[in-house]
């Protein structure tokens, strides 16, 4: 099994940098916040200043503190939902692909049904029936989001499993009498690592969007701080139309940046899986260093033999 050595393209480095920053923020954000985000002790609607970097809300709360504190809830929900959804899609996808036959038909049908139902409207319906105290629980919300977000990954993993199930190493494991569960999760799953990682990033991306959407329309508790509730309060107080950009732009930018980071790392994984994309992802300078033609040539897939050791040995034509 090869490790997941991501190509060192500027895109991936940028993506990892952004993600790293926000993960640190998730951990230390609430401690860094200068004020209590719910405290209404300040003058309302202050513009950004050295005391309040992002001004205050119409209730006199410090927006910068809300942003820092809100990072945690947003990221925790996204991570919980992403992990649970990936576990679900791994179990369902690999079982369907490996077992085949009737279990495969049933599981494929199940994932197709979940793929076809539009996720966010379903989430809104489920969430609107939840009692209020569950709505403010990040884990409950994360679980519901994962229920609507696992199907895409299951589909991809099923297809990949089917291409692996007749390989020699699986055959060998079967012959020495390993249990089905062991073959699926100890033999096949590690070989799906890039696909799993990509599926995890994708679901985390989906979950952030879904969670922020729910919060924005007021379906999570409006008393816990996350970037969606910040947007909710900004919208409810007409911040966008009264030009209070410092109220609603920062949380939106943060959401978009986390999403960009996830997507950029995902590019790296795509390039890892598909060598043609890998060569296309190089910059002009890297091409020169590797001795590749300036412009990619048609019909030729340059194979970068040593993506991890950075010692190019040569270019092999297709």
């Amino acid at each position: 099994m090869r490790g997941l050595a991501l190509p060192r393209s500027p895109k991936v480095i940028l993506g990892l940098g952004i993600l790293g920053f926000f993960i640190v923020l998730t951990v230390v954000g609430p401690w860094l916040a200068p004020y209590n985000p719910s405290s209404t002790a300040f003058t309302a609607l202050l513009t950004p200043s050295s005391h309040h970097w992002l001004g205050t809300t119409s209730l006199g709360q410090d927006i910068f503190s809300q942003l820092l504190v809100g990072a945690r809830a947003t990221m925790v929900v996204a991570l919980v939902a992403g992990l649970v959804a990936t576990l679900l899609s791994m179990t369902i996808g690999i079982s369907a692909g490996y077992l085949g036959g009737v279990p495969d038909d049933g599981l494929t049908l199940l994932s197709n049904v979940f793929l076809a139902i539009p996720g966010v409207p379903l989430l809104i319906v489920i969430d609107s029936y939840l009692p209020v105290n569950s709505r403010s629980n990040e884990f409950v919300i994360g679980l519901i989001i994962s229920l609507t977000g696992w199907a895409w990954g299951a589909r991809v993993l099923r297809a990949q499993t089917m291409s692996l199930r007749n390989r020699d190493f699986v055959e060998a494991a079967r012959i020495i009498g390993e249990s089905r569960r062991r073959i699926m999760f100890s033999e096949i799953a590690p070989n799906l690592l890039p696909v799993l990682a990509s599926s995890l990033l994708f679901t985390v991306l989906y979950s952030i969007g879904a969670y922020v959407t729910l919060a924005y329309i007021g379906l999570t508790s409006t008393a816990t701080w996350n970037w969606g509730t910040m947007l909710y309060w900004a919208q409810a107080n007409n911040a966008p139309l009264s030009n209070e950009w410092y109220w609603f732009v920062p949380p939106g930018i943060c959401i978009a940046l986390v999403g960009t980071g996830l997507a950029l790392v995902n590019f790296g994984i795509d390039e890892f899986i598909n060598p043609r994309l890998r060569a296309a992802g190089l910059t002009a300078r890297q091409r020169r260093q590797l001795g590749l033609a300036r412009r990619p040539r048609l019909g030729v897939t340059p194979v970068l033999r040593t993506a991890s050791s950075r010692q190019p040995t040569g270019v092999v034509a297709k």
Partner: protein, 326 residues
């Protein structure tokens, strides 16, 4: 034909799941929502309305749960979605007014964004490794911005500050709705900004997907062949692009659900009178019959759009039509 029948079967099953979820969810709900809801109605509550509310929560029936389920299905088949608690009129007639706006807005935006994104993606794929690649992080950023947030920013910048576009609503107050030119012109004018923001948030997805397929496709022998026999570059690109677009179309049916989910919220931002705006009102007022009706209509519309996308794919890709591929 067999594939169409299979897809149709899948979508019918999905529709049934959605309908059944709509039936089960209210019954799983703890507490007595009926009293809370009746308490919310400010106007005079008629006994018929109370009955309607109780029925939608599965109460006031003398029959068992299975019989209730069939009564519910029967009501649905007659287009009876219950009575909205806050608006007091049948859900189906409320939806009849708002659904065309949503289908128009989201349909047109999706077509524009698919066409633009595919075109740009084909060119980006062809010129891979050139300086155009620096567009990718920007495109990714736009893809990651929540639809409603981009809509808000557009509204603020181009609507209320620069006054380039009219804001809020779907048509000017002075136009009388109907098939007259002033009204249609006003609808188009008011639709510009919402359409632009939906296109901006969704175009990157199509673009990046198409770029990746195009790069994979360029490595194929038939593209080399096309170059070798001296076809002009435009024809070679078109040649490769025609094949690269197939996975995009195959994914269209999956992506529609995501686009609709995002675009519904753009309606909130622009006060567009579609189902998205209605859904927010329903959620805020805990108007469960309306929420359920909207969910059903959205799901059924998305399923219908999926079916159309599948048929288009089938027409375009002859390989899927052969029985062997089934």
């Amino acid at each position: 034909m067999r594939i169409v029948a299979r897809r149709l079967g899948l979508y019918l099953l999905t529709a049934w799941v959605a309908v059944t979820a709509n039936f089960i969810l209210p019954r799983l709900m703890p507490g007595n929502p009926v009293q809370t809801l009746i308490g919310k109605i400010t106007s005079q509550v008629t006994p018929a309305e109370i009955r309607a509310i109780r029925l939608s929560f599965g109460m006031g029936f003398k029959q068992g749960i299975i019989a209730q389920y069939f009564t519910y299905l029967g009501q649905l088949f007659h287009g009876n979605l219950g009575v909205s608690i806050t608006l007091g009129s049948p859900v189906s007639s409320i939806l009849r007014e708002s659904v065309p706006w949503t289908i128009g807005l989201i349909g047109i935006s999706t077509i524009i964004s698919f066409a633009l994104g595919t075109l740009a993606g084909a060119l980006l794929g062809w010129t891979r490794g050139s300086r155009f690649d620096s567009m990718i992080p920007t495109a990714t950023f736009f893809q990651a911005v929540p639809y409603f947030f981009l809509g808000t920013v557009m509204l603020l910048v181009f609507g209320s500050n620069l006054h380039w576009f009219p804001v809020l609503g779907a048509y000017s107050q002075s136009a009388t709705p109907g098939w007259n030119w002033t009204f249609i012109a006003s609808v188009l004018r008011y639709g510009e900004l919402p359409v632009i923001s939906i296109v901006l948030s969704s175009v990157a997805g199509w673009m990046l997907g198409m770029r990746n397929m195009m790069i994979t496709m360029i490595g194929e022998d038939f593209v080399l062949m096309a170059v070798a026999k001296g076809l002009p570059r435009r024809k070679v690109i078109a040649h490769a692009a025609r094949n690269a677009v197939l996975p995009s179309i195959a994914n269209l049916s999956l992506a529609i659900g995501l686009v609709v989910s995002g675009a519904l919220l753009v309606e909130l931002v622009f006060n567009y009178p579609g189902v998205g705006d209605l859904l927010l009102q329903a959620v805020l007022n805990e108007d469960y019959p309306l929420i359920q009706g909207i969910f059903l209509v959205i799901t059924l519309t998305v399923l219908a759009a999926n079916l159309i996308a599948d048929v288009v794919y089938l027409v375009l890709d002859p390989r899927t039509r052969s029985e062997a591929a089934v």
